[in-house]
């Protein structure tokens, strides 16, 4: 890395932080037995099912596993597109 690069580029995060993020990820996967590939599959299938009934904003769907203590939950965030000209409710 040149001097200017070093001056202007953002510093790499410290390896302890990287370790924590990586540990969090492997624990999440180990505990629930959910691999990143399975999460992708779940996301695709959830989109398919929900789209049959509602207009899903496909690009913004997020499916993830969150931890609370040693408990895992599957969390799906599925933004919906409002129908043009029609007010909800």
């Amino acid at each position: 890395m040149g001097f200017l690069d070093r001056l202007f580029s953002r510093q790499e995060p410290p390896s302890g932080r990287v370790a924590k993020d990586r540990l969090r990820l492997v624990l999440t996967q180990d505990r629930a037995g959910i691999s990143p590939a399975l999460l992708e599959t779940l996301k695709d299938e959830i989109i398919t099912v929900i789209s049959r009934h509602l207009d899903v904003d496909v690009q913004c769907v997020q499916v993830s596993v969150t931890q609370s203590g040693r408990e895992s939950s599957l969390v799906a965030d599925i933004p919906l597109r409002h129908r043009q000209g029609v007010r909800e409710g």
Partner: protein, 267 residues
């Protein structure tokens, strides 16, 4: 009151189970507890060497199980601590020579005459882990502040939860405070947060551990106590229900080092 059985395990190998068992055994015996440490690592006997007792062994765990001697005859008394006994592992057998029920039977017999039975579990989550876990009233899980060791510890915590054993508490061994403060090592809070388990102690990286192992003299026994030796005594205290503060572990400043140099008993 009947003695309690505490199993020391880890998942990953080489994180410090045997070191902890030897030092905790010594520290507890120094507090007047009647202690037996069992080397459950059949085929890879080590606890005898850590305690400096390798030349005194006549019988071993498998001899007791297979009835070649009485349990009492299998126990090796520590040279300096008359209330500390070792039940050594067999060296020429493998782990299939021990069944979980054998460990339960032996521990039940030991509970009568002893306050604490510490079991040094083999690494892994197979047979050796199973039989070491079976008689446990309490469990101590040892890990290092690294992704791989903490991940394996988590597997073990999961197994213990699934079998409704425990309570299990965590020892973080080989922490380097200077590395943590520079951001290059997982800190205590990080590991405890992610593993979501109670902490019973933090042992710093300490080159005295190697010297102690060379001499067969646990650090906890030493008069001018090292940082790790201190940590082992704190864990012994907590195991006995004492409230021992978790001091922030950091590198002593130059000034403090000088102070220690001038008056060594402060360290």
């Amino acid at each position: 009151m009947a003695g309690r059985v505490v199993t020391i395990t880890s998942g990953k190998g080489g994180v410090g189970k045997t070191t902890l068992t030897a030092n905790l055994g010594a520290a507890l015996a120094m507090r007047g507890q009647r202690v037996v440490v069992i080397d459950a690592d059949v085929g890879l006997r080590n606890l005898d060497v850590m305690l400096g007792l390798e030349n005194r062994i006549v019988y071993d765990l498998v001899d007791v199980i297979e009835g070649r001697c009485r349990l009492r005859q299998g126990l090796v008394r520590h040279k300096q601590l008359p209330e500390l006994y070792l039940l050594p592992a067999a060296q020429t057998r493998d782990k299939s020579a021990v069944q979980p029920e054998d460990m339960v039977r032996i521990c039940d017999e030991l509970r009568g005459d002893h306050d604490v039975v510490l079991i040094d579990s083999p690494a892994g989550i197979e047979q050796g882990f199973r039989y070491a876990m079976e008689p446990a009233d309490e469990i101590i899980i040892v890990t290092n502040p690294e992704v791989s060791a903490a991940r394996d510890a988590d597997r073990v915590i999961g197994l213990i939860e699934a079998e409704e054993k425990g309570p299990a508490r965590l020892v973080i061994n080989r922490l380097e405070p200077s590395m943590v403060s520079k951001g290059h090592m997982l800190g205590v809070a990080d590991v405890v947060e992610l593993l979501a388990i109670d902490l019973i102690g933090v042992v710093p990286e300490d080159s005295n551990a190697l010297i102690a192992a060379n001499r067969g003299q646990p650090l906890a026994l030493s008069n001018n106590r090292s940082r790790a030796g201190h940590a082992f005594h704190n864990i012994a205290g907590r195991l006995l229900g004492e409230e021992v503060d978790f001091q922030p572990l950091r590198q002593p400043r130059v000034f403090e080092r000088l102070l220690r140099f001038v008056s060594p008993e402060r360290s």
